[in-house]
C-alpha cells in the first residue's frame, strides 16, 4: 500500500527557472520522478517564493520546504565551510579535480559535516568551468588589474583585492548596466552569463585560465529524507549524486559553448595569463587560504586537503 503513496517535495529555487544554473534543479526533479516511478514528485517554486535566497539554509533547517538548489556563496556568514564548497580561488580548475577532492580526498565529508549541523544533506554540482574576469580592459598580467573596480562576491572579492584590484559589491541585476556605463571595470562572473544575460554585449575581454571550477549545491532537509520509504531513500541518495554528475557535465558544456559563441561573434576577446603570473597569483592568494584555515580546525583540515591536492597536481599554493 505504501508503494502507491505519492510524496510531494517542495523545492525553493534560487535562480529564475529558465536559466542555465537552474537546469540542475529542473532536471533533477524530472529524473527523480522517473527513478521513483512517480512516487516522489518535486514541485519547484520560483526564487523568493517561500523565502529569500539568503534564508534558504535557515528555512531548510526548519523544514519549511524539503529541498533547494543554491550557491554556497550566499551562506558564508552562516557556514564558513561554504567557501570550500564553492571552490577556493586558484584551487581546483576542472570538474574532475573538484570531484576528486570532494569524494576521494575527504573534502565532501567536511562540507557535509558542516551542513549536517543544520540538518541538511548536501550534494555538489558543477557550475561554471570559466569563472574569471569579464572586463572592458585586457588582463595579460597582474598589474593590469591595479586599481580596477571589479564586481566580485565573498572570497572572490578578497581575491580581487589580493591581486590589487578593488572589489565592488553591486546587486546581480545591476551588473549589465554598471558594466556598460563604466560604474565597474569588470566582474568575476561565470562565462555562461555571457549568453544567458547577454553580458557579452558589454564585456570586451575574458581572462583565462579560470580562477576555479566553482560548484553549486543541491540541499535536502534530513528529516524529509528520513521520512521517505527505505527504497526511495536509497534512490534519492544515490540518484542525486549521479544525476548531478550528468547535469554538471552538461552545464560545463554549455558554459564553454557560451564563451565560444561570444568569441565567434567577435564580441569578446580572450586574454591568457602566462604561467609566471599564475605562480605570482598563487603566492598572493595563499594568505587568503590561510585566513580561511584559521577559522576553525575543520576549515584547516579542508584547506590542508586542498593544499595537498594542489601539490599533487603541480600547482602548489605554498
Amino acid at each position: 500500500a505504501q508503494d502507491k503513496k505519492v510524496i510531494t517535495w517542495k523545492m525553493q529555487a534560487s535562480y529564475p527557472l529558465g536559466t542555465t544554473v537552474m537546469m540542475h534543479g529542473v532536471e533533477w526533479a524530472k529524473y527523480i520522478n522517473q527513478l521513483t516511478n512517480g512516487r516522489l514528485k518535486v514541485e519547484i517554486l520560483a526564487p523568493g517564493a517561500m523565502c529569500a535566497v539568503g534564508d534558504i539554509v535557515t528555512y531548510l533547517e526548519k523544514g519549511v520546504f524539503d529541498c533547494a538548489i543554491s550557491y554556497g556563496g550566499f551562506y558564508t556568514g552562516l557556514i564558513p565551510e561554504t567557501d570550500l564548497e564553492i571552490g577556493l580561488p586558484m584551487g581546483h580548475m576542472t570538474w574532475d579535480e573538484y570531484w576528486d577532492a570532494y569524494w576521494n580526498r575527504g573534502l565532501g565529508d567536511i562540507i557535509r559535516g558542516a551542513y549536517a549541523e543544520h540538518n541538511i544533506m548536501q550534494y555538489p554540482c558543477a557550475a561554471g568551468c570559466y569563472y574569471h574576469f569579464n572586463t572592458n580592459f585586457p588582463v595579460n598580467k597582474l598589474s593590469d588589474l591595479k586599481g580596477k573596480k571589479i564586481r566580485a562576491l565573498g572570497v572572490y572579492g578578497k581575491y580581487v583585492q589580493a591581486l590589487g584590484g578593488s572589489a565592488v559589491t553591486i546587486p546581480g541585476g545591476e551588473l549589465y548596466m554598471a558594466m556598460k556605463l563604466g560604474t565597474i571595470d569588470g566582474a568575476i562572473y561565470d562565462a555562461s552569463g555571457l549568453q544567458d544575460v547577454k553580458f557579452h554585449e558589454v564585456v570586451k575581454y575574458y581572462t583565462f585560465p579560470t580562477a576555479a571550477q566553482i560548484a553549486l549545491s543541491l540541499l535536502i532537509n534530513k528529516n524529509s529524507l528520513a521520512k521517505l520509504p527505505e527504497d526511495l531513500r536509497v534512490i534519492v541518495d544515490m540518484g542525486t549524486r549521479f544525476i548531478l554528475e550528468d547535469t554538471g557535465n552538461r552545464y560545463i558544456t554549455m558554459t564553454k559553448a557560451s564563451l565560444n559563441k561570444s568569441v565567434a561573434m567577435k564580441s569578446v576577446d580572450i586574454c591568457t595569463l602566462p604561467d609566471a603570473e599564475l605562480v605570482k597569483m598563487r603566492k598572493l592568494v595563499k594568505p587568503l587560504w590561510d585566513e580561511l584555515a584559521a577559522k576553525s580546525p575543520r576549515m584547516k583540515k579542508g584547506v590542508d586537503i586542498l593544499k595537498q591536492q594542489m601539490r599533487d597536481v603541480g600547482r602548489p599554493i605554498d
Binding site: 517554486l45 520560483a46 523565502c51 529569500a52 534564508d55 519549511v64 545591476e174 548596466m177
Partner: protein, 433 residues
Amino acid sequence: MITTILIIVSLLALLLTGMPVAFALIGLSALWLFVFQGPSSLFMIVSASLTQARTEVFLAIPLFVLMASVLQFSGVATSLYTTMRMWTGRMGGGLAIGTIIISTLMAALTGIGATATVTMGLIALPEMFKRNYNKPMVVGSITAGGALGPLIPPSNLLIIVGGYASLSVGKLFMGGIIPGLLCALLYALYIWIRCKVNPQDGPPLPEEELASTKDKIRAIPAVFLPICLVIVVLGGIYGGICTPTEAAGFGAVGAMIIAGINRQLNIKNMYESFKLTFKVTGMIMWLVIGGGCYSTLVTTTGTAGFVSEYLTSLPFGTMGTIWIMLILVLILGMFIDPVAITMICIPVFLPVLQSLGIDVLWFMLLFSLATIIGYITPPFGLNIFYMKSVAPKNVTLGDIYKGVIPYALLQIAVLIACVLCPPLLTWLPSFMD
C-alpha cells in the same frame, strides 16, 4: 479555486473596513498560510519581511522622501509659485497653468503623490479663488497635478514596481518621463482651451499686478536651483553615474544645499524633516512588507498561477488580455490605494506576461500609469483626500470629484495612447541598454 476566491475576497473585504492596508496584508497572509500550508510555513513571512530591508533599491525610498521633506521645509514651493505667477499671470487661466508647471517640476523633485497637491493647495488655491477662477477646474488641476509625482521620476511607486517585478528602476524612471510630461501638457492645454472658450473661468491678473520684465528675470534663480537638482539626480541615474539609491542620497544633500541657500537650513527644519521622513518611511515600508507577505501567500498557494492561467486562457488575444488587466487596475484604483494595488497585482500579472510574451518593462509602465490614475479617481483617491484636507471649507468632496474627472479622462487618454504606441514608454529607456 476555493482557495483563490477566499484569499482574494477576504483581502478586499478586510481592506474596505478601513483597516490599515499593511496590517490587513500581514494578518491575512499569516492566517491563510497557517490554514493552507501548516504552521512551519509561517516562517515565510519573516523572510518576506526582512527581504524588503535587504533590497538595495528600496533604500532609495527614505532618501527620496527625505529630499522632498527638506524641500518642503526650505520654502522652495513658495518661491517657485511667486516666480511662475510673474511669468504666466498675463494669460487666461495662467495661474492654473503655472500651477501645473510647478507640479511637474515638483514631481521631478519628489517621489510621492501628494507633495504638490498639499503645497499647491495651500499656496496657489487661495489666490485662484480670490481671482474668481472656476472652482472645479482649479481644484481638479491641483489634485491631478500631484498625481504627476509618482509618474515623473523619481517615484517611490516605480521603485516598488521595479523591486517586485525585478526590473531596472532606472529604466522605469526613464519610461515615466514621456507619459508624465504628456499628462502635464494635456492638463495645461485643457485649462488654456477652457479659458479661451470661457474667459471667466480663469481671468488674467490685472495689469498693475503684473511684474516688470526686470523682476521676471530677477526671479529666475528660484527656479534655476531646483532644475539643477532635477538634472543632477535624473542625469546621474540616466547617465549611469550612480544607482537610483545613490542619486537619492545626492538629491537629499542637494535639497539641504538649496535649503541652505534659502537660509532655511537649521536644526529645527532638519529635525522636522527627519521626523516626517521616519513616519512616511514607516508607512511605505510596512506596506511593502505587507505586500511581500501577501506575494508569498499568493505564490505558494498557487493563487497567482490559478489567476494568471485564467487570464491567459481568455479568448481575447494578447491585446485583449492587456486591456482586461489595465481595466481591472483602473477599477481597483477607484477603491484601493495604488501601492496596495501594485502588491496585489504584480505577483498575479507577472506569469501572464511571461506566458503571453508581453514586454515586461512596457507593461509594468502601463500598469503603473493605470495605478497612478487611481490617486485621482473617485470615490477613493488619496490626492482627493489630501486636497480636501488643505482646501477651504467651502470646497466639498463633490466639488473635487467633479473637478478631477476631466483630468482623469486625460490621463486615461495618455494610457490608451501608450498602449497603442509602445515607444512612448519604451523609447527613452531603450537608450539605457
